[in-house]
């Protein structure tokens, strides 16, 4: 009789670069279908934790389990390569800077991995690409190259590329941080749609509004530890930890300052327009 396992299970994750401890003994679990946001100041270790889940950054201690299988197994090089490649096929990842393949069309960006790793025929792969791109509203750009797309469009294609491998889990590493403000929404909408379809998602983000509206749970990290976690209503409105309060206060102030600056710029532009 095996014990019921957690879908994502991070046990005592530690990561150090020499003396610098980036992750200090973090344990957390994520249920199947759960949508979790990780927030925190830069340097808090949130991206490192996310990247440790599919071993892009290797932990120096601790374990990561996905659906009952340990991801960061200790194996000889060749065996480990085989193991990690198989694991990564089940974990989609979306990056801040999209990392689309510039030498491939949108279609080929989406179909490359399924063709190579799952042996899909050209026809099957094309069908898959059309489905996935349609899902993110990018079907009409299927024969474009990444350089011909806006940031928001690139990110939507990157999401389609990850989804084409039919992952069990999606990781988002500040997926909208590199986007112009007016392009954030289209990516958020795609992520919201995924959430409605009950994809398990771990989202590292700076966007509190998005986290609040989409996520089941918010994890606040600072200096390599999980300071506080809970439903967004609690973490955002009623945080218990002083560090969380301070972070949210600062973040809110920044947010307001930014909005004010944008509003001021807009007014100035309009005034200029009027003066002409």
């Amino acid at each position: 009789m095996t014990e019921a396992h957690k879908f994502v299970d991070i046990r005592h994750a530690q990561k150090a670069y020499g003396d610098l401890e980036v992750l200090k003994d973090i344990s957390l679990t994520v249920d199947r279908g759960e949508i979790v946001a990780i927030i925190g100041p830069s340097g808090s270790g949130k991206s490192t934790l996310l990247r440790a889940i599919n071993d892009l950054d290797s932990l120096t201690g601790g374990e990561v389990w996905l659906d009952g299988v340990q991801i960061n197994k200790n194996l000889p090089y060749r065996q480990y390569e085989k193991h990690i490649n198989a694991m990564r096929q089940q974990v989609g990842m979306v990056f801040q800077h999209f990392n689309l393949f510039p030498h491939l069309s949108v279609r080929d960006n989406v179909t490359m991995a399924p063709k190579l790793l799952k042996g899909l025929s050209d026809k099957e792969a094309d069908k898959l690409a059309e489905e996935q791109l349609n899902h993110v509203g990018m079907l009409e750009r299927i024969d474009y190259y990444p350089s011909q797309l806006s940031g928001g469009q690139k990110q939507r294609v990157a999401i389609a590329r990850a989804l084409a491998m039919q992952p069990k889990l999606m990781l988002f590493d500040e997926a909208t941080s590199a986007l112009d403000p007016e392009l954030v929404e289209e990516v958020n909408l795609v992520m919201k749609r995924l959430a409605e379809e009950h994809m398990t998602m771990i989202i590292v983000t700076h966007e509190m509004d998005f986290a609040a509206s989409v996520c089941d749970r918010v994890i606040f990290m600072d200096k390599g530890v999980v300071v506080e976690q809970g439903p967004p209503s609690v973490v955002f409105q009623n945080p218990t930890e002083e560090r969380t309060k301070e972070f949210l206060r600062k973040h809110l102030a920044q947010h307001h300052a930014q909005n004010a600056a944008e509003a001021a710029a807009l007014t100035a532009a309009q005034t200029n327009e009027g003066a002409k």
């Binding site: 599919n54 892009l56 390569e81 490649n85 198989a86 990564r88 096929q89 974990v91 989609g92 990842m93 990056f95 800077h97 990392n99 689309l100 393949f101 510039p102 030498h103 490359m112 991995a113 190579l116 790793l117 190259y145 350089s147 011909q148 990157a158 590329r161 990850a162 491998m165």
Partner: protein, 215 residues
């Protein structure tokens, strides 16, 4: 300038130019092979291969090509390597330019954004698949122009084999000076032929680069 003399000797120079082109093509091909192997060795996960690659590159870039040629052609027989002048020229200069090309290729490969490999690995591609499908196609585009610079240098570099008496352009010019006493005309003619070869090659590189450019 003695135009009549030039018109009289130029067919012999054309023949010599063919030898220069042969030398260029063969040394560049050998250089590309050695360069690719050395670049791969330098980026290998095995320390021994990395050391071998690094030693090759620093030895061939750190000594004059002329010394390398002399060592191979004159010193070779002493250790049982018997080559005629043309063979020694191709092998010596090919190994030499290979060291430069190795650095060019490695430079292009490392300048492909690391996020590209990460994205490929995240999808489940192996190291080799990520390299072949994602890094290399981008690096190849980046290396066309700098390899063109190497090739340009190599074409002119073939003049060195005149020193081991391979009958190519420079050697031919020197030989005709001996009988005509007209160094200006002879070197001028050789120079014109070099510049034609270089220009045509340069156009070819530009064409390839444009063809490989991404939208």
């Amino acid at each position: 300038m003695d135009i009549e003399l030039i018109l009289k000797v130029y067919p012999y120079f054309l023949e010599a130019a063919v030898v220069t082109i042969e030398l260029s093509v063969l040394t560049v091909l050998l250089g590309l092979i050695c360069g690719a192997l050395a670049a791969a060795a330098r980026m290998s996960r095995f320390r021994l291969l990395r050391i071998i690659g690094a030693v090759y590159v620093s030895v061939f870039r750190g000594t004059p090509a002329l010394i390398q040629l002399f060592l191979l052609y004159f010193g070779g027989p002493q250790i049982g390597i018997q080559l005629d002048a043309f063979e020694a020229g191709v092998i010596g200069l090919g190994l030499n330019i290979g060291a430069y090309m190795a650095e060019t290729m490695r430079g292009a490969i490392v300048s492909v954004d690391g996020g590209q490999t990460e994205a490929a690995r995240t999808l489940g591609l192996s190291r080799a698949q990520a390299f072949r499908k994602v890094t290399l196609p981008q690096a190849m585009r980046l290396m066309i122009r700098p390899l063109g610079v190497n090739i340009n240098a190599q074409i002119k570099g073939t003049a060195l084999v005149a020193a081991i008496s391979v009958v190519e352009l420079t050697y031919t010019a020197q030989r005709y000076i001996g009988s005509t006493y007209k160094p200006f005309e002879m070197f001028f003619l050789a120079g014109v032929l070099y510049i034609i070869i270089i220009t045509v090659t340069g156009k070819g590189i530009t064409y390839l680069d444009r063809k490989a450019r991404l939208p």
